[in-house]
């Protein structure tokens, strides 16, 4: 089911790219790269690993591994509209429905034989406890070796050294499983690609911050989180550069992503992964654009190609969902200011203890910083619980309130 899906997807996008006249192709390039990754995972011809979210993907790429975090599959199944049987399977296995749907979907999918067998697995303690336990379960299911990475809570030099050390040990672990030592030249090249992608992403975001923003609300959906998977690869760097060029051009020609942009929003944590009309509704009825996404943020420095491990470690530690809520709130406040947003949307993905679990604290921190926030209470991957009417009303009320504020604050 999955391999043909990705093959069709690739073919479809390639055709559309070949005949494109609009020049607005960055999003398609990203989807194409994603589909290619999917194909590689399912081709049965490559060495693959299932991992936690903050694994060093460029290091793995340099070692010839196709890496993927498990949540990717949950999101993928949701966007394909094929997630229901997986969730039901998990339910039948006794996996409580109060838990994160990403995890339940993966657990169901693996038991339905929908996950390719990895060569080994990598669990990371960030971003959430459930994710770690699920990867352990996959390792047990496939009877494959598991490498566990403990991402420390605090961000200090001791933590960096400890995490870098674990990444070095991961290198040995991978070598043990592939029989191939890490080639220093390939690592350097991978790090160069990472830095290239990073630079292009940062520039893309710089353009996205313009008022009006060249970003359409769907341009940057999942961008950062999916780009993480392509770090270290040429293809990843090219996608990022396509975004940069497209945004630069649009900004230069003053083309707004949402014509007549009235409001700008920041999206926290997960986007809704299945087809839904909410974002279009915001764009069309209220000229409201989602210009920033929390998980797209890059808060790490370029990585030193000669000594990349500490850089990998700092990058993992910089992720907004790693560490305390205060750290996360700071990242979000910074984004809100940089992007000049009028408000934020917290989807409060059902079952997420890591992000949603801090709903109250986040709300307070953002209110304190003058960022109005709407808590949606939605399951980002399970379309069965999608109460469209109710969500629509909430969003509309929120946006109307923001428009009111704006008018009262001396709008045009």
């Amino acid at each position: 089911m999955m391999l043909p899906y990705f093959e069709n997807l690739i073919q479809g996008i390639e055709e559309r790219l070949a005949t494109d006249k609009s020049g607005i192709v960055a999003r398609k390039r990203l989807t194409l790269e994603t589909a290619r990754l999917g194909k590689r995972l399912y081709s049965g011809e490559e060495r693959i690993t299932w991992s936690g979210l903050v694994a060093p993907y460029d290091l793995l790429a340099a070692m010839g591994i196709v890496p993927c975090f498990v949540e990717f599959i949950g999101g993928m199944l949701a966007s394909m509209g094929s997630i229901d049987p997986m969730l039901e399977q998990a339910d039948q296995m006794g996996y409580a429905t109060d838990c994160c749907t990403y995890h339940r979907a993966v657990t169901g999918a693996v038991h339905q034989g929908l996950l390719p067998e990895p060569d080994f697995l990598i669990a990371t303690s960030a971003v959430c406890s459930g994710g770690m336990a699920v990867i352990e379960g996959l390792a047990r299911h496939f009877d494959k070796d598991l490498f566990v990475i403990h991402v420390p809570h605090e961000k200090n030099e001791r933590a960096v050294a400890y995490l870098a050390d674990q990444f070095r040990a991961l290198t040995d672990f991978v070598t043990e499983h592939t029989g191939e030592a890490l080639d220093p030249d390939r690592l350097r090249m991978a790090v160069d690609n990472t830095n290239r992608a990073r630079a292009a992403m940062i520039e893309t975001y710089r353009w996205a911050r313009q008022v009006p923003s060249p970003a359409r609300s769907r341009d940057l959906i999942n961008f950062g989180i999916v780009m993480a998977l392509f770090l270290g690869t040429e293809g990843g760097a090219e996608v990022a550069e396509a975004y940069r060029d497209e945004f630069a051009r649009k900004a230069g020609e003053n083309i707004a992503g949402v014509p007549g942009e009235q409001l700008r929003l920041l999206w926290l944590q997960n986007r809704i992964q299945f087809k839904n009309p909410l974002v279009e509704m915001l764009e069309q009825e209220y000229q409201t654009a989602v210009v920033a996404e929390e998980l797209n943020d890059i808060a790490w420095d370029p990585i030193d190609p000669e000594d990349p491990y500490p850089g990998f470690a700092r990058r993992a530690l910089s992720f907004s969902l790693v560490g305390s809520t205060a750290h996360r709130a700071q990242s979000i406040q910074r984004l809100a200011k940089d992007y000049q947003v009028d408000g934020a949307i917290n989807p409060c993905h059902w079952g997420c203890r890591q992000g949603t679990g801090a709903r109250g604290l986040m709300g307070e921190a953002l209110r304190g910083a003058g960022v109005p926030t709407l808590n949606l209470e939605v399951d980002c991957v399970d379309p069965r619980n999608f109460a469209e009417g109710q969500l629509r009303t909430r969003l509309q009320a929120f946006v109307e309130m923001l428009l009111d504020h704006k008018a009262a604050a001396g709008g045009p």
Binding site: A139, E154, S324, L361
Partner: protein, 356 residues
């Protein structure tokens, strides 16, 4: 006996290095998720949050707790991290000290934890003015070991159904052992343990293994016994997993002993089993067989991701061996457990092969 008034260090996780807290001049005080404090924590965090953490926070919000001179939180899971984040909302004046906890027990992890423990000792010392000497730490480890060994012995008697007061009585001691000064509790418990065995009403019950995370209420154990179960082994983080015997070696760095000891304790679900992978299911099965249990009861709190994610594998494993499993979802109230009474009774009836 130590008569000076010590300071109180709150804690919430079985991985807390109690000997270090005590040696640094604190009485460790476990904030048990019990009592009647009204639900408020959901608004600070989220309602879909571990009830253990919510209840602990509710107690703080309701002032259903003595004042603490420190709160030591272990970075064991998402929910605990959120507790550390939220504590200042309830008790702004109480310093929160977070101890990071690795997931494996290799040397790298042990060394990291050792440094974490050293850092914690310094933070504690800033509050108490007492940085423990090596000797004091060794001593404190030995004292806690005495307590842990006592509990091991009492646990065996409870399993046989001959302990006066049964499991509920033992649970009362478990509660006291983490809320009262160690010297006091040790003395009292030694007296109690010297008492002769009395056959208990539970002795004839259907033998079960009870495992899971948090189940602090003594009444819960009565409920199981009244339903006709005999708990031959208990593996809960508010019970037998609270205290473990650590190695004693005066020649070794006590911080290293603590670090290694904590990482090699009987694991809870937050601990990832890399070798062999996903060993929790095997451990439960082995334990059930070793203890002669005829069925396994998993008491797992709602919203506890580490445990809930593992239950399917546990279920599959036990089913393969024909070992019955009953899963009870808890929320740190006796009310919710009471509502599941029918399941408990039906499970016991099933084990006893009622009316076959």
């Amino acid at each position: 006996m130590n008569q000076e008034i010590t300071k109180l260090a709150g804690f919430t996780c079985a991985y807390t290095p109690l000997p270090l807290l005590a040696a640094a001049g604190f009485t460790p005080y476990r904030i048990l998720p019990v009592g009647q404090a009204p639900d408020q924590a959901g608004s600070i965090l989220h309602d879909n949050m571990c009830p253990h953490v919510k209840r602990v926070l509710d107690r703080a919000l309701d002032d259903d707790l003595p004042g603490l001179d420190a709160l030591v939180v272990i970075n064991s899971c998402d929910a605990m991290r959120r507790l550390a984040d939220a504590w200042p909302k309830a008790r702004p004046a109480e310093p929160v000290m977070l101890l990071d906890l690795p997931y494996s027990a290799d040397e790298r992890a042990v060394n990291f934890l050792r440094q974490e423990l050293l850092a914690l000792a310094e933070k504690l010392a800033a509050g108490s003015g007492r940085l423990p000497s090596q000797e004091e730490l060794h001593q404190s480890i030995a004292t806690y070991n005495r307590l842990a060994r006592l509990f091991d012995r009492l646990d065996a008697r409870a399993a046989a159904g001959t302990l006066t007061g049964g499991r509920a009585g033992l649970q009362r001691w478990h509660q006291r052992s983490v809320t009262e000064p160690i010297d006091k509790i040790l003395a009292e418990l030694e007296t109690f343990a010297a008492d002769n065995d009395h056959p208990d009403k539970a002795a004839a019950g259907a033998p079960i293994l009870l495992f899971g995370n948090v189940l602090a209420e003594t009444e819960a154990f009565d409920l199981f016994e009244e339903a006709g179960a005999r708990i031959v082994a208990e593996d809960l983080c508010t019970g037998s997993r609270q205290l473990t015997v650590l190695p004693e070696n005066p020649a070794e760095d006590p911080y290293l002993i603590l670090a290694r000891g904590l990482l090699n304790r009987p694991p809870c679900a937050r601990t990832i089993h890399a070798e062999p992978t996903g060993d929790l299911a095997e451990q439960v099965m082995r334990r059930a067989q070793e203890t002669g249990a005829r069925g396994v009861v998993a008491h797992v709190l709602k919203f506890c991701d580490p445990y809930l994610a593992r239950l399917p594998a546990v279920h599959e494993r036990l089913r393969k061996e024909g070992m019955p499993l009953l899963v009870l979802e808890g929320d740190c109230t006796m009310r919710s457990l009471g509502q599941q009474r029918t399941r408990i009774e039906a499970f016991v009836e099933m084990l006893q092969g009622e009316e076959s």
